[in-house]
């Protein structure tokens, strides 16, 4: 049997994998996650499903939780599902992506007897402990990310092959739409009952060889969350200062299909004001965690991460466990597989 020519077989294989080495699944629920702003080929679609379990215990503090709730002197557990859709594209001749998040789940709250009066729901009595829960859809969000510097448009496999980034800078704008479940008589809700948004400046530095199995990056994303007024928070007006957030990741490939990341998330600001009066203190939470990401097929990545607060306000204990499935495809690559597989 004649041999095939290795010099022409390998390109075909690598051209396939090159399409997918940089797909990512963005998450707007808590943080963006490691390698969230890595670039994919124009036309790549990414669908992601993730489950998040959040636990928070707070004493004499106001805290910031997944969907921007505040609930002082309370223990909370949230089980959240996030379905995301993202599309890599080229906008203004820059690599860009548009993503949409649909969030649903439930939140259970155990409030302590010392809950301040502004936070006591109408059917509860101040000075007594109570439990409350909420479930359903939360506010969906949409985000547009555009690269400002460091990456050329990735329209083709050729562009991907030539892609060896070092510094990259993006700009991202996210908008939350207040159509999630909201009950004005509840302290906990899935929806926020107000518009909110985020401006982010994702910056990353790729070091080492930009080749599967050797890719490393340091990623830092300063961002600010801005909230509209909630005019019906237990019958009161709730306003919040901007929330300043700094997210950082140090990522490293272990093998061509397996990477890990050390994760840092710090949030501050978000001073609450109810009916014109400041309530509590600024948020001051620093979480540290890790992520493991396994690419099980050309299309599918499985990711898990854990983080917990390790600095900032000492009165808070929180943890976040996440399991995520990310599926990505590009029509040409799928067609290539069909052709390669024969009939």
């Amino acid at each position: 049997m004649k041999s095939t020519n290795r010099h022409f077989l390998i390109p075909a294989i690598l051209a396939t994998t090159a399409v997918f080495f940089s797909f990512s699944g963005k998450i707007h629920a808590v943080d963006d996650g490691a390698r969230a702003y890595w670039k994919g080929r124009d036309g790549t679609t990414v669908v992601s499903f993730q489950y998040l379990n959040l636990n928070m215990q707070a004493n004499d503090a106001k805290q910031f939780a997944p969907n921007q709730y505040i609930y002082p002197n309370a223990d909370t557990e949230a089980n959240i599902m996030v379905a995301s859709w993202a599309r890599h594209m080229t906008l203004f001749n820059r690599p860009s992506s548009l993503s949409v998040n649909l969030v649903a789940g439930s939140v259970d709250l155990d409030a302590s007897a010392s809950l301040e009066g502004q936070f006591v729901p109408p059917d509860q009595t101040a000075g007594t402990a109570f439990s409350q829960s909420s479930s359903g859809y939360a506010d969906p969000s949409v985000q547009l990310d555009i690269n400002l510097a460091g990456t050329t448009p990735l329209r083709s496999t050729v562009d991907l092959l030539n892609y060896e980034p070092t510094w990259t800078v993006d700009a991202a704008v996210m908008l939350g739409v207040p159509i999630g479940e909201y009950d004005e008589d509840k302290l906990v809700n899935m929806g926020l009952n107000r518009w909110y948004g985020r401006l982010a400046l994702p910056i990353k530095y790729h070091f080492g060889v930009f080749s599967p199995g050797y890719m490393s990056s340091f990623e830092i994303t300063p961002s600010v969350w801005i909230f509209d007024e909630n005019d019906d928070f237990l019958g009161q007006d709730l306003e919040n200062d901007p929330l300043w957030q700094l997210e950082a990741h140090l990522t490293q490939d272990f093998t061509p299909t397996f990477f890990g990341s050390l994760d840092l998330l710090y949030r501050s600001g978000f001073q609450s004001e109810i009916d014109g009066t400041d309530v509590g203190d600024d948020v001051d939470i620093g979480d540290f965690g890790f992520t493991l990401n396994f690419q099980s097929t050309d299309n599918l990545m499985i990711r898990t991460s854990y983080s917990s607060n390790v600095f900032g306000d000492s009165d808070i204990d929180n943890s976040l466990l996440r399991i995520q499935f990310v599926y990505a495809w590009h029509p040409l690559t799928e067609n290539q597989k069909k052709l390669s597989e024969g009939h």
């Binding site: 390109p11 092959l161 030539n162 040409l332």
Partner: protein, 603 residues
């Protein structure tokens, strides 16, 4: 009674003799040039700018302007075989490399001329120079013996920094191509090198050592013979990080376009005649425009690395020249630059790594398994640029390294230095051979090749000195009746004047004698055996003489004996078949556009 004037007489005689001795040394020094012999490893015929290549080689191009270039310089199809002739001045079948030591056939093992090392039937040019007042230095690839009596230090080089084997990593990890000896053995001044420095890169290290040896030896004003035997651009294609992207995207257009451009430049330079017949692309290679852009980029990346290695070598040669100018020795140095064989188009990595389950494969797993597009060229990878680019490097010739067709045995040759007439000229008349270099060097140094060396009889040199040619007295050291012969791996060839016969294994040959006119047909495309049977027969008779004279034994085994089964099949779309019709006749970019948007967003 002792004469009181005796001590004075003795002293006077001593002073006089020392003075005369010193004058003789000075006279010898002034009359005998330094010799710098630079050998590239697997460099193609058309790679240098002065031979039509697009690779930036300003140092060697300047050297060519200062000296002479030659179009018809021949080497052997592989490296150790060439090196045996380079060192001995005689045929490889005499000097011990009748076959590569690694590939000796069962019926060749133990036979005279098939020792697999530079044997003791010859004296190396370094031995003769060392014994006659020259400093002898070597840095680079030896490949002529591993044992203590066979290494450079034992064969005439007073200083050396050498790798003893055929190839391997260019970095400090130093893995060898042969799994049987996983690390490349290096020697320095005859002693094994235990560990290479962390920042080791072969081409730079050999350059550094050459400069160091010359510097440390210049106190006594003796001339030097420096053999700078680079291992570039032999695979694996490795480069320092800051050189990896020096030719980024330069070769994305594919091999056909680059080959045509080179050929046109070679014609402009006069290296190839305008109406000369270039070899076809090998039948198993697709035309580059049949490849999608991404595949061309991936193939082009390998050529980028190759070009980077060639330019890096040129840059390092420039360092040696600058140093020689600094110490005032450049104008007294004859520089000879050659390649050791044709460009490498064989799948050496596959040959080295073997198949899964073999030791070779384990060797590959341990040392060069990385093949990511952006990893290529770095430590832990084994890139080679393949047959299509090798054909570019050997345009207009047929096939590449390993074969005795012109693509395996033609090499660039540049000579410059004191006494070399015809600066910047191109000599197309001389039929030259690598075994001519030793007699040339010896004549330049004023040394007679002896019949005996250290008590043993040695073979005469078969090469012919170029000194008369370099001085402009003749156009060639050979007459029209002189001829050259080759045999390696069972493939055979004879050239006499414009004519050449070859016997090559199928499918690249016919396993029968073919006859070519190299002036009209340097690509060896038109077999004239039927038209000129007498000419063919005359050359076959010379082949028989070659076998007899040199003790050639055709191997019972050959790496090419199953070439027909190992090489890929003919590609379905070749240049003229099926006939080009309709859209296929359009420019490539236009065709892509019509297929739906062009290369930018579709591939």
């Amino acid at each position: 009674m002792v004469n009181k004037s005796f001590p004075l007489v003795i002293t006077t005689m001593l002073v006089l003799s020392l003075t005369i001795g010193a004058m003789q040394v000075n006279a010898q020094t002034q009359s005998r040039p330094n010799i710098l012999l630079i050998v590239a490893d697997d460099l193609g015929y058309s790679d240098l700018g002065s031979y039509g290549g697009e690779i930036r080689t300003p140092v060697l191009d300047t050297l060519a302007q200062q000296g002479m270039r030659y179009t018809d310089f021949y080497v052997s199809p592989t490296c150790s075989v060439t090196r045996s002739m380079l060192m001995s001045g005689t045929d490889n079948h005499v000097a011990g490399l009748g076959n590569m030591g690694e590939l000796n056939a069962p019926n060749q093992i133990g036979k005279p001329g098939y020792e697999g090392v530079l044997n003791k039937r010859v004296a190396s040019v370094a031995e003769l120079l060392q014994d006659n007042g020259y400093h002898t230095y070597m840095a680079g690839k030896w490949h002529l013996g591993l044992k203590p009596g066979q290494i450079p230090h034992a064969r005439g080089f007073e200083r050396d920094f050498s790798t003893l084997v055929g190839g391997g990593s260019h970095f400090d990890d130093g893995w060898n191509l042969e799994w049987q000896m996983p690390k490349m053995p290096y020697t320095e001044d005859g002693r094994p090198v235990k560990k290479l420095p962390k920042d080791f890169y072969s081409t730079k290290a050999y350059t550094d050592k050459t400069i160091q040896f010359i510097e440390e030896g210049r106190k006594d004003n003796k001339p030097f013979f420096a053999y700078l035997a680079y291992t570039a651009p032999h695979g694996p294609l490795h480069l320092p990080d800051d050189w990896l992207r020096r030719y980024k995207n330069r070769y994305d257009e594919g091999w056909d376009g680059i080959r045509q451009q080179r050929l046109a430049r070679m014609q402009d330079l006069g290296i190839v005649d305008k109406d000369a017949n270039a070899a076809d692309r090998l039948s198993f290679l697709p035309r580059s425009t049949a490849l999608v852009p991404a595949a061309r980029v991936m193939q082009g990346r390998k050529m980028e690395l190759y070009a980077g290695m060639v330019e890096y070598m040129d840059d390092q040669i420039g360092r040696v020249f600058e140093y020689l100018k600094e110490i005032g020795e450049y104008d007294n140095t004859i520089v000879i630059f050659i390649s050791d064989n044709g460009a490498e188009g064989n799948d050496l990595r596959a040959m080295v790594a073997g198949r899964p389950g073999t030791m070779g494969f384990l060797h590959g797993m341990n040392n060069f398994a990385e093949n990511g597009h952006n990893s290529l060229g770095r430590k832990g990878t084994y890139a080679e640029y393949g047959p299509a680019w090798a054909q570019v490097s050997m345009v207009p010739f047929r096939i590449y390294k390993g074969w005795v067709s012109e693509g395996g045995i033609r090499s660039p040759l540049i000579i410059s230095g004191p006494g070399v007439k015809g600066a910047g000229e191109l000599n197309k008349k001389a039929m030259l051979h690598v075994m001519d270099i030793a007699p040339t060097v010896l004549e330049l140094a004023g040394i007679q090749h002896p019949d005996n060396y250290k008590g043993r009889e040695i073979e005469p040199m078969q090469g012919k000195s170029w000194v008369g040619m370099l001085a402009g007295e003749t156009q060639s050291p050979r007459t029209a009746d002189d001829w050259l012969g080759w045999e390696l791996f069972g493939n055979r060839a004879i050239r006499q004047g414009d004519w050449k016969i070859t016997w090559l294994y199928e499918p690249l040959g016919t396993e029968d004698w073919q006859l070519f006119n190299l002036v009209e047909d340097p690509g060896e495309q038109q077999d004239l055996s039927n038209e000129l049977p007498d000419k063919r027969q005359k050359l076959i008779a010379l082949w028989n003489e070659y076998v007899k004279t040199n003790g050639v034994i055709i191997g019972a085994r050959s790496p090419f004996e199953q070439a027909g089964k190992q090489l890929p099949t003919r590609v379905p779309e070749y240049d003229n078949y099926p006939p080009v019709r309709g859209l296929e006749a359009l420019p490539y970019e236009k065709l892509l556009e019509l297929m739906g948007g062009g290369s930018e967003d579709k591939e």
